[in-house]
């Protein structure tokens, strides 16, 4: 920690949050808001004179509220930076000045009530997302009595109690009477591996954390009676089994079964009722203290950052990696990497390993000092451009400039263009070529797919990042779905031109599905909003023409939704079966007539 604080190459912004990210790999434009500390970070020597005079007493967050702090405080003794800070909402003295005792006490004059939040802009080449997790709050598991019974604690509160730097200087005491507990129980999987409450996934760290805690207890209090209530112990890592065996050898009792109820009895004791699945009996234990081994939840800011950076999440709410096996630290967005529990529950060793791996991947991109961009970008055909400005309007990256007054053709900044193809799909004059996903390249695939037995085919346009990846995930999970499904990959659902849909129906497609990332999850900021509008428009036109609008479907399927993908395919098959050959022929005739009319109008 201190190494990171004093490294000449590391600039540290604490009390800060990312509020905006623009740009692309190699050239990200980042906006940070740094909240006011009200204490000069550089000048403060952490002498503590201010704390002595501060009259405001509040629960200490670092010690999980088991001790108190002042309104001016240092989060913990080894904090980096070591400078104090004021919680301005608690402080009595800022506006108008009524207290200000700390200001008088500070010899170095580092306290300034007029400090304001600061906005910092900077450019970076790569981003490492290490936003961590939140501990699970076991309050909702009423049967365990957390917050109802004083002597039921979370594992994190327990950590503070046995920590030499904690509120009891490392002495384990019961919150109710500050006495040494003679017996203690641990309940495993609190908020993990449960379909009912909390999360369904395994939080990875709780088994070993409990084993560690039992070892600490046995070291300090060899006679203490320790019981661990568990489903199964997952001691899968290097050296883990040894610790588990050591714990058992030292007399810690492991009971297979999670308690059904927890009650408080006389003297603050905790009575636990549990079905011991090894004996098959309901057993009761009276314990002095109970620790809930709480799981890991995705950090609260995950969703916001995910939207800002255009990342994807797993159904569990953690960040989704580009490939679970071969690119485990890469985000699907180039130049962004994951480290630590932001990507999923993991222990310290794994977090550190992943951080180093993420750095190696970042350096692999940065070391040349230049970056090759994918040439899948939009290109304007100047002669066809009618200067309407639609392309510039829809571009999520402001990569297209067009002067509608001076009537100069649109121009694409290829460095800023990310290649979603929304502009090409929205251009009414066919003046934009989307390289590598041209109209002809896509329509050719449709033609081939529908060249025979078209009435049996399910045509699916799938965006590369979410829906196509969701289809891959269905494959990896071996989920079976109808074999008449055929996918056409585009980079974004925004690329799916109205023309592609008409072309498909003209060629005899019974049904067409356009699929993309969920709204808010689009890899191209918000290009899929244009997809949504477009489909709505096409639906209306279909209705007018006498084509059943249901035959065109729009579905959002994320990269992690393999099950949903397979489900949607089954639904599409049901829909396809409802389309008769007669209906298809009729549609083809309607569209042919329409084409002829259009051609006549043009000539």
């Amino acid at each position: 920690m201190t190494d990171a604080g004093r490294h000449p190459r590391i600039t540290l912004h604490t009390m800060s949050e990312i509020v905006g990210v623009k740009g692309y790999v190699g050239n990200f434009d980042v906006k940070i808001v740094k909240k006011a500390r009200y204490v000069d970070e550089k000048e403060c020597t952490a002498c503590g004179d201010c704390v002595k005079v501060c009259p405001v007493v509040r629960p200490d967050e670092f010690n999980m509220g088991l001790s108190s702090r002042k309104a001016i405080f240092s989060p913990f003794p080894q904090a980096v930076p070591s400078a104090y800070l004021i919680n301005i909402n608690e402080c009595l003295g800022h506006n108008p000045s009524v207290c200000a005792k700390c200001v008088d006490a500070c010899d170095k004059k580092c306290i300034n009530f007029h400090m304001s939040d600061e906005e910092i802009s900077l450019n970076v080449g790569t981003i490492i997302v290490a936003t961590g997790h939140e501990p699970y709050n076991p309050k909702e598991l009423d049967e365990y009595g957390y917050t109802r019974f004083e002597n039921v604690l979370t594992s994190l509160e327990f950590e503070r109690l046995v920590n030499a730097g904690g509120p009891s200087n490392g002495e384990l005491v019961r919150p109710s009477d500050r006495k040494h507990p003679e017996s203690i129980g641990f309940i495993q999987c609190v908020g993990s591996r449960s379909a009912r409450k909390g999360s369904e996934y395994c939080s990875n760290i709780c088994c070993m954390n409990t084993i560690k805690s039992t070892l600490i207890l046995k070291e300090h209090y060899p006679d203490m009676e320790i019981k661990v209530f568990y489903m199964d112990i997952r001691a899968f890592g290097k050296g883990f089994e040894d610790l588990y065996k050591r714990s058992r050898r030292l007399g810690v009792q492991y009971l297979r079964g999670l308690p059904g109820t927890v009650e408080e009895t006389e003297g603050g004791k905790i009575r636990v009722a549990v079905e011991n699945t090894a004996t098959g009996k309901i057993e009761f234990y009276e314990l002095d203290m109970l620790v809930l081994a709480i799981g890991i939840k995705p950090s609260k800011g995950t969703r916001r950052l995910q939207e800002m950076l255009g990342l994807q999440l797993t159904p569990d709410g953690f960040y989704l990696e580009a490939h679970p096996k071969l690119q485990p630290v890469d985000a699907a967005t180039r130049g962004i990497f994951y480290a630590g529990t932001a990507e999923g529950p993991k222990d310290i060793k794994e977090s550190v390993t992943q951080a180093s791996a993420a750095v190696a991947r970042a350096i692999r991109l940065m070391h040349r000092g230049e970056i090759k961009t994918e040439p899948i970008t939009a290109e304007i055909i100047d002669e066809k451009c009618k200067f309407c400005g639609k392309c510039a309007e829809v571009c999520p990256y402001n990569a297209i400039k067009v002067d509608t007054k001076k009537k100069t053709p649109a121009a694409v900044n290829t460095a800023a263009c990310a290649g979603c193809g929304t502009c090409a799909a929205e251009c009414k004059f066919d003046a934009i070529i989307m390289n590598h996903y041209t109209d002809d390249q896509i329509n050719n695939q449709t033609d081939t797919m529908l060249r025979n037995k078209s009435e049996e085919r399910i045509l699916v346009f799938a965006c590369n990042w979410c829906s196509y990846a969701g289809a891959d995930y269905a494959g990896v999970s071996r989920l079976q779905y109808p074999s008449n499904v055929r996918l056409i990959r585009t980079m974004c659902s925004g690329r799916v031109d109205e023309k592609f849909i008409w072309h498909a129906f003209l060629k005899g497609a019974p049904v067409v599905l356009v699929s993309g990332c969920h709204i808010g999850d689009c890899h191209y900021i918000d290009a899929n909003r244009w997809t949504e509008k477009r489909i709505e428009k096409v639906h209306k036109k279909m209705e007018k023409m006498g084509i059943r609008p249901e035959r065109l479907q729009l579905e959002w399927i994320s990269a992690a939704e393999g099950i949903r993908f397979a489900g949607v395919m089954k639904k599409m098959e049901g829909l396809r079966k409802s389309v008769s050959e007669h209906e298809i022929t009729e549609t083809v005739e309607i569209l042919k007539k329409k084409m002829k009319k259009k051609k006549k109008q043009r000539s």
């Binding site: 670092f62 977090s351 071996r478």
Partner: protein
Amino acid sequence: MDARMNEKMVINVEEEVRIGVYVCQCGLNIAQTVNCEKVAEEASEIGDVIVSKSIGYACSEPGQKEIREDILENGLNRIVMASCSPRLHEPTFRQMIQDAGLNPYLLEMANLREQCSWVHMKEPEAATQKALDLVEMAVSRVRLLESLSEETLPLIKRSLVIGGGVAGIQAALDLADNGYDVVMVEKHPSIGGTMAQLDKTFPTMDCSI
């Protein structure tokens, strides 16, 4: 991707289209459901397809070598890889055809594993028919693909680390020690994260800070 590519990528583009189709068995991952030999055989009948083969593991070095040699011997200028998802091996095969002198964008993949053999395991015949369809779709697309060239842009040699827990700290230190500037952003008043709150840590049972 280097200067070599820029020289070579212009070749073959204006010439007649000569397509190579490779149907990867992926061991048994594809082959146990899809009749790869049959797909390769039928694909050889498609117009402009000069070479069509079923291959054990296309991504393996012997597999890639065979394809590279085919490209050079037969003057192939468009390649269809009917194998796994492009999300997995598109970069591999782009590199492969580039090494054989082709522009990396003259490649198309047909997803026979994640989107065919693995999802239609009980219908080998339908899966084989779908595989052939996917290959034909890929051929019709690859025929129209054009060479594309990458652009080189300057890059900022600075990294942003969001979060100052143990992972963020490790990442920042590794980057900084490698000579990169790092900006670390932490929402709390101190770095350290959950780790700083822990007493001893497993498996070494030492102090966390």
